[in-house]
């Protein structure tokens, strides 16, 4: 039994059972595509969450809201809601892009390590066949 081969294969098996499946799926994307796709998912979720939050606040404070009669109040309120939404979009967009970029880099590095082990195993088998 080749101890080195067993070591490498055990390491590979542990990786495959652990983060390997997810990492291989992630590394099939280009980094830019992966980060962009998940950034858009994050922004869509943000929009859904923000709409629900504004809806809940509107429902809770509807009595106080309808007490005001001036149109300017409602315009200012609407602009405030939109400005906060835009700020949140910017912050979430940058944060999610950075997060998924680093996630892609990390999984790509792990897959590279795994592929190095695959090459090592292939070389071991080639040496055996030559003997």
């Amino acid at each position: 039994m080749d101890r080195k081969k067993v070591k490498i294969m055990t390491r590979m098996a542990m990786y495959e059972q652990g983060p390997g499946q997810r990492d291989i799926q992630i590394s099939q994307f280009y980094k830019k595509d992966y980060a962009s796709l998940h950034m858009w998912y994050a922004l869509i979720w943000l929009t859904v969450g923000y709409v629900l939050l504004i809806g809940a606040l509107f429902f809770a404070f509807s009595d106080q809201l309808f007490n005001h009669t001036q149109l300017s109040y409602y315009i200012r309120l609407g602009m405030g809601v939109v400005i906060v939404y835009v700020i949140m979009l910017l912050v979430y967009g940058i944060a999610s892009r950075t997060f998924f970029n680093s996630k892609h880099t990390a999984s790509r590095n792990r897959v590279k390590g795994y592929m190095r082990d695959v090459v090592r195993i292939e070389r071991i088998y080639d040496r055996k066949e030559k003997r």
Binding site: M1, K7, T10, M14, W45, G49, L52, A56, F59, A60
Partner: protein, 392 residues
Amino acid sequence: MNTTVAGAKGQLGQFYATYSHIIDRVARFIFGILLFAGVNHITGYMERLDSWVVVIGLAVICAFLPTPFLTLFGFALLLAHLSSLSLPVMGVVAVLFLIMFALYFHFTPGHTIMLLLVPIAFWFKIPAVIPIAFGLMGSPAFAYPIACGCIAYYSLRYIHTYAKTFDTSGLAGTMTRISTWIRELFTNKEMWLYIFAFTICLWAVCMIRKRDVAHSWKLATLLGALIDVLILAIGAAVLGVKLNIGVVLLGHLAAIIVGLILEYLFFHVDYKHRESIQFEDDDYVYYVSAVPKVKGNESEQREVKRLTHESETGRSGEDRTERPKNKKPSSQKSKGQQKGKGQQKGKGQQKGKGQSKGKKTPPPAKKQKWENGMTDELLMTQSLRRDLEKEL
């Protein structure tokens, strides 16, 4: 004292390594019982689900499923109880969780367990355990899940307080009550005080434990608890919030004990043998501080068994495993060995295993259990794990 404690930890680690597949399931079962019993305790509106049979049954199921199922079943149980109380209330709580998921938890679905952990910690009067434990073991990003957990707790507490009102009033009354509930949630000074205090405590614990100082984890635990108590006390005085200081102090004491236990399990180092090294290269001067980890009983000798037969490897046929002196060597009843038996008497070792006359047959591969209960494969897996960790 230090070596005795470290020896106990080493034995604990070996015990876990041997029986990890059973221990993991048992741990998930116990955690499931605590979680589902906590949910039943907090809500418990549906009589059919509010029983130990359901709690134990769900815990048994979750013991054999991956961890995210614990959170899923916990939420399902919570919503089932609320649906029995009032469907609009269940809808609002579901929407609240959806908002939290949309704003953060879709990045890290694993953190959704905090939405159940924090309310349960509050209900058992030990909420400070959460920021200190996750400050030691996690990262500053846990501030958001902890905040969401606090919001979940105060929502459930409001429902618990006004459960009869939700139950007895009609739809219009329920909607009015829900509207009041959401308004009070956003203006609840106690909730925002706890969120602020826990966030600062979490960040302080995270920052201090990473410092290059002796006993950083102990310092982080103690200072984190102190900061939390100070913020709560000052905040309660300024905002006019009523807090039971005795309960708060006892809760923080429990949090300190949990922090010390976590340090013992995950960060046991020997500060007496700390070394400070300085070196430089062309670009930088390096100041490095190395603190050795306290391992188990280092006087135990490791027994290494060769997995390959000596004749195949061409090495000398010396078996390095230590056998008890009184026992006879393993059965290889070839003529050569029997002839050499007189030579082997009195010697603790078996020499000339591969030197018997006749055919060179490899001995049967036997699984040998070591004195500490580990098998060959487990030893190899452990050493491979160490290699892998070094490389990664």
